[in-house]
């Protein structure tokens, strides 16, 4: 149990990488990249978790409450934003790839070799 969250983060990372490397469709590959990134949220928040503690938000909790680590939450939040923006930008590139190459199968994209 005490390692499970970390190992699951690793599993998600590897699964995402496997998906990108074997993808036959660039939109699918972008989705897999998003999966890969979700491993980082899982790891960060697992690292900051404290058993029996509550969220570091004191609007409805006494300031003496034991709370989990707020720093990793701020990092994960930043990470979520970064992930969404990267997804958007890569999807924009996929749209143009489809237009200019007529395909979004990486196996059929040629033009940059050697």
């Amino acid at each position: 149990m005490s390692l499970l969250p970390y190992l699951i983060a690793g599993w998600i990372f590897l699964a995402g990488v496997y998906g990108i490397a074997t993808s036959r469709n660039l939109i699918h590959a972008v989705g897999c990249l998003a999966v890969t990134q979700s491993s980082t949220y899982v790891l960060l928040l697992s690292v900051g978790y404290r058993k029996g503690a509550t969220a570091p938000v004191f609007s409805d909790a006494p300031t003496s409450a034991t709370v989990v680590d707020p720093v990793v939450q701020a990092l994960a939040l930043t990470d979520v934003v970064v992930g969404a923006t990267v997804t958007a930008l890569l999807l924009a590139l996929v749209v143009q790839t489809a237009k200019r190459h007529g395909t979004i199968d990486p196996d059929e994209l040629s033009g940059l070799k050697g």
Binding site: T54, A55, V57, S59, D60, A61
Partner: protein
Amino acid sequence: MNWWLAAACVLVVGGLGPCLWGAARGTAGRRVVAQNMATLLLCLVFLLLAQGYGRPSYADLALVVAVLGPAGTLVFTRLLGDETGARPPGTRLLTPAVLIGAPATVVPMCIAAGPGRATIKLIFIGVLLIAGGAVTSWAVRRG
């Protein structure tokens, strides 16, 4: 762990799990149904967690799901409309799920919370959930 959390756990394992199974296989229509069902259940899970952890502020997540969940499902019905087809399998479950699930969760929570702002918020979430559930299940049925 208290009963609220136990209920949330049951909903995650017995509700969201099968939804994932449904969303990962079968026709496009069935997958959208599973997605819709998952957002409905998710809203209930958040409500139960808020109560179980004794943190009313967590109910904000349920509030957001109650409006964005149906929006998400409508995105799928709108843009996958030609693939889903009318009356995909599993649609029958949607209306009873929302009509029974929402009151079954919200009413005990209201009783536990007692009269006050929190109760108004809970009822508001319940109403949004039922309205959203009704519209999305109707939209999914039409295909």
